[in-house]
């Protein structure tokens, strides 16, 4: 790390403070996992399966052990005898297959890239050389690479004792679809597809483990979004108590949901640190991250929508098939697909909605979370249905939405699946969108372009996002709420520790502001930390757009408690009732009298004789904060409110399609976004910009390919195209602020644009192709895929 001039104070802007962590991160002074150094650090490399499906007959590591510099070579069978196994701990879901799996594959491999053996050596170079000296005798088995083929009766089975490949089956018969379909004027039948992509952090998963045999303590630095959850799992695998384990999550170049999962290698690092008694490190390389971390999105939807000729959708049936790849992923990789089923009604009044979810195991890398967490697929489904039905009926997309939207006066509105929507007006949000995007003009320009033979399209979409999902009963062995510690130090400066974990979102800036505002001091006097289980007893990490809602709420709650105590001290010193004391600009005030904040702090710690009689010294709290409004389990009708609150957004896109090459250019993108109280608009806009980029990538560039034998074909960034600076689309952003009832009024942000924008882009491309009559029913609109569509259409 090179020395850089100390940062100048981050400037205030009219819309918020610039991010205080940026100087450090942008000048190369962040501490990422790769920056954590230890004397005598040893390196782990992992032998991975070259086959998609095979039985492991025998593994011989003796060759690897002969290489100078190799400290140990380990197989799954050997470690399984000594360490615990992973288990989803979701016995509460009776239709979920219960699995136990180990830190390395034991009897069978189920995807190319599955970890089979590990070498510890003086350097990663030597470790990788040693991998080549390990001999594995595999009995290759036929592989399931296509999810629908995996459902066929004669498909190869990943787990012979299952009898099929269905990892999770959930039926969701909500309302009365029988009657709805019986009363319908027409039924739309469609199949929608979502391709396999990956939320790809700049630095992948990785961990550095240190075990002190003398004290029996384990410290694991891990690039994770969920340090406390990881600690629980490490305890289970290693047999150590949680009190002996400290997980530290350093700076991270993104997580995007990928790191809300614990890859088995993180536990392996802990196990090997205990075995070899050296600090050991493993860092995912890019091929490992592309083939053996966490994929996402792949689903097939078979949908039937019953509609009336006036545009009203009366009922909906959806068969949702999710390709979960190898299900041996912790936390549950089927989670996003479950969320898909819950979000389908979106912001529409659709009570008669029945789904059947099948999460199917295939011989591909595990599928799990990626920013948006299954909600984008649901929004795509319902938004496409509205447009396609509208097209049949000659009702325009705006009207279709207005006809079906939940009326403003119904708040809270309980959706078919039990979500308790507390959102602002959908109608006003849509009006803001149409105005902001100048929708009428955009449609006029589209019509003109059409007369010139150009394929220009306009599309809109809306979304409701379940933010801060405080799942309880279905969280297995984890708790989901938030904790924060706040300590005013003797000098009057403040430490805040949160259980969320920033992956680059700017938490240091926002939590400092949240605490400072409550304490009546400057954010500069507040130091924020996160990602250390040694400091805070518990925390649920950062995912589900929850950090501001839950972490922010916890910080405010903690600050209020400390402030109350400080007010009591001030009241004692000023000899006045506490309710007459005000707090501002670093002073506790009573009329003209004012006591500096730092003076109260020193009284609390150093001059405790000044405290009111019987008051304990010190100024620190650890608080837990729950929203208390989510359901621990589904009720007897399968309904469940999972989220503390709901954010909303709407998007309008204008695109032009080049039919010869399949290239879509995005001419204009407008997003209306309501995440409740806006804490810092600079940071919020940054979240939206990033999500838009990922929406562009997901729609036009990214696709993970496997061949029919389950061989991954996108193993480097040469083959997997993520958006770069040349692909930037700058959205026009309009903020609405409808405060929630939670502390601070926050609703949560981060994922919304990635949930809604793909649906708006698909709608716009569909609209552009109206002259050709090519409907869009797939999320993948990359140039070659769009050409496939146009070619198929002109052929047949």
């Amino acid at each position: 790390m090179t020395a850089v001039a100390p940062p100048v104070a981050p400037p205030e802007t009219t819309t918020g403070t610039f991010r205080r962590e940026d100087t450090r991160l942008l000048c190369g002074e962040g501490e990422y996992l790769g920056d954590v150094q230890r004397p005598d650090l040893k390196h782990i490399a992992i032998l991975r399966s070259p086959l998609a499906h095979a039985r492991i007959r025998e593994i011989d590591v003796s060759g690897a052990l002969t290489l100078p510099g190799v400290i140990g070579a380990f197989t799954g069978a050997e470690l399984a005898a000594e360490v615990g196994t992973f288990n989803h701990h979701l016995e509460a879901i009776p239709t979920l297959r219960q699995l136990n799996w180990s830190v390395l594959a034991v009897d069978k491999v189920r995807f190319v890239g599955e970890a089979v053996a590990a070498v510890v050596a003086d350097s990663r170079y030597i470790a990788e050389d040693a991998l080549e000296l390990i001999e594995v005798d595999y009995e290759e088995l036929p592989a399931v690479s296509d999810v629908e083929a995996g459902l066929e009766a004669d498909a190869p089975q990943l787990y012979e004792d299952w009898g099929d490949n269905v990892f999770l089956y959930i039926p969701g018969p909500h309302g009365d679809t029988e009657t709805a379909f019986a009363n319908a004027d027409g039924v739309l039948q469609e199949k929608f597809t979502h391709h396999r992509i990956i939320g790809l952090p700049l630095d992948g998963h990785g961990a550095l483990g240190e075990f002190d045999a003398a004290t029996g303590r384990l410290v694991l630095h891990a690039s994770t979004q969920i340090p406390h959850f990881l600690r629980t799992v490490l305890a289970e695998i290693t047999g150590l108590s949680e009190a002996k384990i400290r997980v530290v999550a350093p700076d991270m170049g993104g997580g995007f949901g990928n790191k809300v999962h614990m890859v088995r290698e993180e536990a392996l690092v802990a196990v090997l640190a205990m075995r070899v008694r050296h600090p050991v490190v493993w860092k995912q390389d890019r091929t490992e991250s592309l083939t053996a971390s966490v994929h996402s999105r792949q689903q097939v939807h078979n949908v039937e929508a019953a509609y009336r000729n006036d545009g009203r959708i009366l009922g909906l049936r959806a068969e949702i098939i999710a390709d979960v790849g190898s299900p041996e992923l912790y936390v549950l990789g089927a989670g996003p697909a479950i969320v898909t089923t819950a979000i389908v009604p979106n912001c529409y009044d659709l009570q008669d909605y029945a789904f059947e979810l099948r999460c199917v195991a295939t011989n591909k890398a595990p599928m799990g979370a990626y920013r948006g967490y299954g909600q984008g697929q649901a929004v795509f489904l319902i938004e496409r249905v509205l447009d396609l039905v509208g097209e049949k009926l000659g009702i325009d997309p705006v009207e279709m939405r207005r006809i079906n939207m939940i009326p403003d006066e119904q708040r809270p509105y309980v959706t078919a699946t039990g979500a308790v929507l507390d959102c602002g007006s959908f109608h006003d949000q849509l009006s803001d969108l149409l105005e902001g995007a100048d929708y009428a003009a955009a449609c006029r320009r589209r019509d003109e372009a059409r007369t010139e033979g150009r394929l220009v399209g306009v599309g809109i979409a809306q979304m409701v996002e379940a933010t801060a999902p405080n799942i309880h009963g279905l969280a297995g062995q984890f708790g989901v709420y938030e904790m924060a510690m706040l300590a005013v130090q003797p000098d009057g400066k403040v430490n805040v520790v949160v259980g969320t974990k920033s992956q680059g979102q700017g938490h240091e800036t926002i939590f400092a502001k949240a605490a400072a505002d409550e304490l009546g001091i400057s954010p500069d006097d507040v130091t924020v930390s996160d990602g250390d289980t040694g400091v805070l007893p518990y925390g649920s990490g950062t995912w589900g757009s929850r950090s501001v809602v839950m972490g922010g709420g916890a910080v405010i709650k903690a600050a209020r408690q400390v402030r109350d105590k400080m007010v009591a001290i001030a009241a004692g010193l000023l000899d006045a009732p506490a309710d007459q004391i005000t707090v501002s600009d670093g002073f506790f005030r009573l009329g003209e009298a004012a006591i500096p904040f730092a003076q109260i702090a020193s009284a609390a710690y150093l001059h405790t004789f000044l405290l009111p009689p019987g008051m304990d010294p010190g100024l620190s709290v650890i608080v837990g904060y729950d929203s208390f409004n989510t359901s621990p389990f589904p009720d007897e009708r399968g309904k469940m409110n999972v989220a503390a609150t709901y954010a909303t957004a709407a998007a309008a896109a204008v695109v032009e399609v080049d039919p010869a090459t399949g290239v879509v250019s995005v001419g204009d993108l407008t997003i209306v976004h309501d995440c409740g109280t806006v804490m810092n608009q600079v940071i919020l806009d940054g979240q939206i910009h990033g999500a838009v980029m990922q929406a562009i990538g997901q729609t036009f560039l990214e696709e993970l390919h496997y061949d029919e034998n389950g061989q991954p074909l996108t193993t480097t960034l040469l083959d997997y195209a993520i958006p770069t600076f040349g692909d930037i689309v700058e959205p026009r952003i309009i903020h609405r602020e409808t405060p929630s009832d939670l502390i601070g009024g926050y609703r949560g942000a981060g994922e919304g644009a990635l949930i809604v924008v793909p649906a708006a882009l698909a709608a716009a491309v569909h609209d552009a192709l109206v002259p050709l009559g090519v409907p869009i029913t797939q999320a993948n609109l990359s140039p070659p895929r769009l050409r496939d569509l146009l070619r198929e259409h002109s052929a047949g």
């Binding site: 990663r124 170079y125 990788e128 050389d129 080549e132 390389d285 890019r286 091929t287 010869a660 090459t661 399949g662 560039l701 696709e703 390919h705 074909l713 996108t714 480097t716 040469l718 083959d719 195209a721 958006p723 770069t724 600076f725 040349g726 692909d727 990359s782 140039p783 070659p784 050409r787 496939d788 070619r791």
Partner: protein, 293 residues
């Protein structure tokens, strides 16, 4: 993603390089390293010895001699793209080099490396075929010239011997009435081309097309010579939209692309048609204007 063990030697002359290559079983030349090093990190290439020729002054530079332009093998893409003399005397080389990757890649990657690497989607090998150029190869037993038509043997394969060093690339000098264009399709700025088409033509004083050469990248297992597709243009003194599209159709029909994650064979064929039509329009215009392109 670490390479297997290898030895390394930095040489200063062509003779040293060819000796080192002759002496060792699996020696490889290290030029810009932009293709070789990633392959080594993936352990798809496992040379026992790297012969680093970056210090061989004789391999750089560019000169015009008797109607031939001679480029040292170590000319960096960025040099080809930006050098005023190259831009003047070989505008199509400058245009094509500018299409390669990003600036950082072009600062390191070399003409010789690109041609020796023989990636079927690389631009410069296709351009060499379109221009009907040749390479100069040296070994401890002497020097020989290999015409482009005989150089590319398959994907990532040339007819050069493992112990041969590619020292120079020669192409015909650009003259009055010459016009060329390279059109390609990339998914993102800086990507390898999914497909690309080079059209090089010459129009006589009256504007009639006297010669036309067409080559493609990403359209077959090697850079493809698709010149036969353009023969119908010979003698024509105007290029109609129909003519350009016709070339596109013929180029598409003559190409032989296979599919990969970047696009199916069919998709590449469709791109070939679009790209050939675009390239011939631009080349035609340039050949007709003085100064050319």
């Amino acid at each position: 993603m670490k390479p297997a063990r290898f030895e390394y030697v930095a040489v200063e002359s062509v003779a040293e390089a060819t000796e080192a290559l002759a002496d060792s079983e699996d020696a490889r030349v290290l030029a810009g390293g932009q293709s070789l090093v990633p392959l080594m990190n993936l352990r798809l290439a496992r040379p026992s010895l790297l012969v680093d020729v970056n210090g061989v002054g004789a391999l750089s530079g560019f000169e015009a001699r008797n109607g031939t332009l001679r480029f040292g093998a170590m000319c960096r893409h960025r040099f080809l793209e930006t050098d005023p003399a190259v831009r003047r005397q070989a505008p199509i080389v400058a245009e094509t080099a500018g299409l390669i990757g990003h600036v950082g890649i072009r600062n390191r990657g070399t003409l010789g490396g690109s041609i020796a690497h023989a990636d079927p989607v690389a631009e410069l090998p296709a351009l060499l075929v379109a221009l009907g150029g040749n390479v100069v190869a040296s070994s401890t037993t002497g020097e020989r010239r290999v015409p482009a038509a005989e150089l590319f043997a398959g994907p990532f394969m040339t007819s050069l011997e493992p112990a041969e060093l590619l020292t120079a690339v020669e192409i015909p000098a650009h003259g009055e009435g010459d016009g060329g264009a390279f059109s390609e399709f990339v998914l993102r700025h800086g990507d390898f081309a999914t497909a690309g088409v080079a059209v090089i033509l010459h129009r006589d004083g009256d504007g009639a097309c006297e010669s036309v050469r067409v080559a493609g990248c990403g359209l077959g297992p090697t850079p493809m010579d698709l010149s036969a597709a353009g023969e119908f243009l010979l003698g024509e003194s105007a290029l109609t939209d129909g003519g350009a599209d016709e070339l596109g159709r013929r180029v598409a029909a003559a190409s032989d692309p296979t599919g990969d994650v970047h696009g199916s064979g069919e998709y590449r064929r469709e791109l070939a048609a679009v790209l050939a039509a675009d390239a011939v329009r631009r080349a035609w215009g340039r050949a007709g204007s003085t100064g050319g392109g």
